[in-house]
């Protein structure tokens, strides 16, 4: 927790220093801190290295151009990842010519069905988890990454995806169900 707070403070100091001096070295530090994770997310969501490379460059350009608007209400990492997810989701939507990859349609998830416990996903063997995530819709994958990889709060995800908190809770529940169904289909022996 202390490390999180320290990191947040350092990020904010770097941003303020950059805005004051316009010295690109401050931005370079931020870039080097987050580029690996941003690039990894782009690879994971877009699944093509050349697209991920272009996307990472565009995302950091957006971050640079909007740095003055970062209000520090949330962690800088959350802000960076929200730009990353929104950029990748927009790109996928344009590529697939889909109106919305986070559909609001009523999906058949029986209410009585047992809730998938977080541990089922968190303790899944890494390669299997990767394969499972590649099999479920990209919107579900993104929402699971936000929750379990980036540790985002429901309210943060709701803001990023412009949905209500209850809608996000439902989407996470559905995404977990889909992941478990895919896992059972792919690895029936377990």
């Amino acid at each position: 927790m202390g490390t999180d707070t320290d990191s947040k403070t350092k990020d904010i100091e770097l941003i303020q220093e950059y805005l004051r001096t316009k010295d690109s070295r401050h931005f370079t530090i931020l870039y080097r801190k987050y580029s690996g994770k941003v690039y990894g997310k782009c690879i994971s969501l877009l699944r093509e290295e050349h697209m991920a490379k272009d996307a990472t460059q565009d995302i950091f350009m957006k971050i640079f151009l909007n740095l003055g608007q970062f209000g520090a209400q949330s962690k800088f990492s959350t802000w960076v990842y929200s730009i990353t997810y929104n950029y990748c989701i927009d790109l996928i939507r344009k590529k697939k010519k889909m109106a919305n990859i986070f559909t609001d349609e009523i999906e058949k998830v029986p209410d009585l069905e047992e809730e998938v416990h977080d541990e089922a996903l968190l303790t899944m063997e890494v390669n299997r988890l990767r394969e499972v995530l590649n099999e479920i819709p990209v919107g579900d994958k993104a929402i699971l990454l936000m929750k379990y990889q980036d540790g985002m709060q429901i309210k943060d995800i709701a803001v990023i995806l412009d949905k209500t908190e209850s809608a996000i809770k439902m989407k996470i529940k559905r995404a977990k169900h889909k992941a478990q169904e895919v896992y059972k289909r792919m690895y029936p022996e377990t």
């Binding site: 580029s35 990894g40 379990y148 990889q149």
Partner: protein
């Protein structure tokens, strides 16, 4: 939660190792930022001058350029200097002619 008991975090660490960020992204990005920064500085330097030139072109005051008092420009009355110009060149005729 640390990576030891979170497969999502382990996956992230593996992805970062398996897919290192291409170094040319940083080069391209910093190049673009430098160009943007230079353009910003250039704008800061030249926009005030460009605005001044625009004002002059549109018939605005010349006061800042050649130091003439503004009221003379507005009234159209010749200044003292012009009134005392060399004989025959302009202004009043030389004495005795």
């Amino acid at each position: 939660m640390n990576a030891a008991n979170n497969s999502f975090l382990q996956m992230q660490e593996e992805d970062e190792l398996n897919f290192p960020v291409p170094p040319d992204i940083e080069d391209n990005l910093m190049g673009s930022l430098q160009i943007l920064s230079m353009m910003g500085h250039a704008m800061e330097l030249f926009i005030p001058k460009a605005l001044e030139m625009f004002v002059l072109t549109m018939g605005g005051t010349l006061r800042e350029i050649d130091g003439l008092p503004a009221e003379e420009l507005l009234s159209g009355v010749p200044s003292k200097d012009m009134d005392d110009g060399a004989p025959g060149i302009g202004g009043k005729a030389p004495d005795g002619e």
